[in-house]
């Protein structure tokens, strides 16, 4: 039996797509190739009779893979793999690789071919990540704080997946004349927006994170209190239904929400 070859990469888009590139170029046979990501969620089990290859990230290789996906498969497929690469699913690199392989064979139809297991899995990962991002468009709460003498809207989120791009895009369009900061606590990143400009992303140092942590709840309470009053009085007692409320608004999103404080 032919040995499995396992490409190991880090949890960055660059490393994952380099692995995809190397694996594809190797012509070793798709059935005998697996991609593994080093991340806390993934179990690090060495398999017997397998050859391990450690991937050296290479930006050029990533660019080539992404360009080819957009040209030869579709924009939709590109979006799928980018969202999957930013997700927290341990099997993501392997799914991305096999999805792309099928994509080259089927073309743009691949995103609809839900009877193929890796396409199904890709669809699942994508839907999960997008759903989470959408939850944050709904449930993110800003407070108005004072930051370098400006009134700034400030929000903290703790998402599982990378959602900050989608969130920041959304609010850049919506709150165009405002200053705002969205702080992603789980990935130690923040998006900053100045009035009328595009937003920019910053990776944060631990002390910057601490500084941002302290800003939470530092804003005025006037409208937060009004909102809580509204939130209470809008519910109809005769229809009370905590189960439905929990289904629609899962508990772990409530951590930074004004009305649950």
């Amino acid at each position: 039996m032919k040995e499995m070859r396992i490409y190991r990469c880090d949890d960055t888009p660059e490393s994952i797509f380099t692995a995809v590139y190397d694996a594809g170029k190797s012509a070793y046979g798709h059935d005998h190739i697996r991609l593994e990501v080093n991340m806390p969620e993934a179990e690090q089990n060495y398999t017997l009779f397998s050859e391990y290859v450690d991937v050296m990230p290479d930006a050029d290789k990533m660019t080539k893979v992404l360009r080819t996906v957009r040209r030869q498969i579709s924009q939709q497929a590109y979006e799928y793999i980018m969202v999957a690469a930013g997700s927290r699913q341990p099997d993501k690199a392997d799914v991305i690789y096999h999805f792309i392989v099928y994509g080259f064979a089927l073309g743009s139809k691949v995103t609809e071919a839900l009877h193929i297991p890796c396409v199904q899995r890709m669809f699942e990962i994508y839907r999960k990540a997008r759903n989470e991002a959408h939850y944050f468009l709904e449930f993110i709460r800003f407070e108005e704080i004072s930051w370098q003498d400006h009134p700034v809207l400030y929000a903290v989120i703790e998402p599982e997946n990378e959602v900050i791009d989608m969130v920041a895009d959304h609010f850049t369009d919506r709150l165009n004349p405002e200053w705002f900061i969205v702080y992603d606590k789980s990935h130690a990143k923040a998006a900053f927006h100045n009035p009328g400009r595009r937003w920019y992303l910053r990776k944060l140092e631990p002390e910057e994170c601490r500084a941002l942590d302290e800003l939470e709840h530092s804003g005025g309470q006037e409208y937060a209190d009004l909102w809580k009053a509204f939130f209470d009085s809008i519910a109809i007692q005769e229809r009370e239904n905590a189960g439905l409320q929990r289904t629609n608004l899962p508990l772990h999103y409530r951590k930074h929400m004004t009305e649950f404080h």
């Binding site: 609809e112 009877h115 800003f142 919506r174 009085s233 809008i234 229809r239």
Partner: protein, 529 residues
Amino acid sequence: MIFAEHASLEEKLRILSDAAKYDVACTSSGVSRKGKDGQIGNTSAAGICHSFSADGRCISLLKILFTNECIYNCKYCINRATNDVPRATFTPEEVCELTMEFYRRNYIEGLFLSSGIIQSADHTMELICQTLHDLRTIYRFHGYIHCKAIPGASPELVELAGWYADRMSVNMELPTADGLRQLAPNKDRRQILTPMRQIQSGMEESRQALGMKGGNRSAYWHTSRRLGRSMPDGISQRAGAPKLTGLQSASTGAGRRGAVSKPGGLQEISTGAGHSQNVGKDIMKEADDLYLPSSAGTAGLTQWRHHDTDRGFVPAGQSTQMIIGAGGESDYEIMSVSEALYQRFDLKRVFYSAFINVNQDASLPALESGPPLRREHRLYQADFLLRYYGFEAGELLSPSRPNFNVFLDPKCDWALGHMESFPVEINTADYDTLLRVPGIGVKSAGRIVKARRTGALDYSHLKKMGVVLKRAVYFITCNGRMMYDFLKVDEDFITRRLVGEEKELQRYYQQSQIRYQQLSLFDFAVDAN
């Protein structure tokens, strides 16, 4: 009467949101609009919820009344003139401030402004218009606004509001004209339908002159078009277009097992429903009453020059709501009225609100077991079947079977009455046939049609595509095979299985000591109350 004239903003907010909470339409959908330089806000076509209150309902908009003072005395309403409740009135400025500050913090998606009738319909509508004007022009709010058209207000004011709002609604209040006369003595059908027709033709005019402006057609419109049914629009109505015959044919699909039994002939059932005219005349009269003489609301839009036409006129369309379980009307009457509203008034949504006897009024039903929530749920399910699935009211119910089965959802119920059309082969059936299978929805039907182009589908695939197999298995085959070897697939068997699914219902059966064997579909067409 208690006036909270010097109330704080928080007290006012409590009173006026408490008074607005029975209004069900809290959607922020129907129009997609990008942000604009220097303005705050955009809108998303699918709408965005921002929180969920203790009753599990979504909070999308700042839903408030402008005032809860009211000169009318509708029996079902908490704010009726004779009630002794704290009264308060906002100023336009307060409403604008609240909307802007809540919106910036992402608490809400926009404003939902309704109102009690203060002094007169026109005076109330003026206050609403003033508020909307300030919000759009002074506060430069570019997000979602839903407002009420007050029945009886002058057409100029209704039009004015339409230029500022994204969605407007005029409440039907009660499904039947009779119910309205009894319970809302100060209102009549004509007063309600006139602004509705005015908004409809205004929207059509705006679409023709300005384009869709980010708005979209209703689901009902799209479904009708897909199925090749005629769909009236505001303009042809005004030109005195011939009356639609849709409702007559809808009243006939009646017999639960009667209809066509050609293999794969599901569409036959949905369209050629037969033509016995004398069935259910009385009930259909209710829906027919929804006609207005073609002279009503013909003035067209007159204020083009005074407004920024950037948003268009009511781009997100109009909706309405009806109270369920206060007037003794049947589900069949309700669904017929809804269908007529979708067909003739081009509504986006009809909302159903389970009646809550807030006033303990002796002339209204006392609901010991709480509001008729399950019935409301069935009506919403049926409403989706009309709008997305191409069902007609007359297929789901009939004069001889006027209410939904509380124990089964309307689609399962329909399918069980049409076993001759099943099973359906997943790999070959067309989209509209798939849509009629219990457990298959709009999304999964679309996925099936796309996925099978690249390969044959099997049960394991269906599960991943979001098909609810526990309902669908009885009605489908994959590559000619049923999922299990059922010994005998008949109505009784499937009914027992489907009902057995729901724990709550099982408990109910145990309590009421009904044995499964006694269960016959046709016996328990009881009212949900």
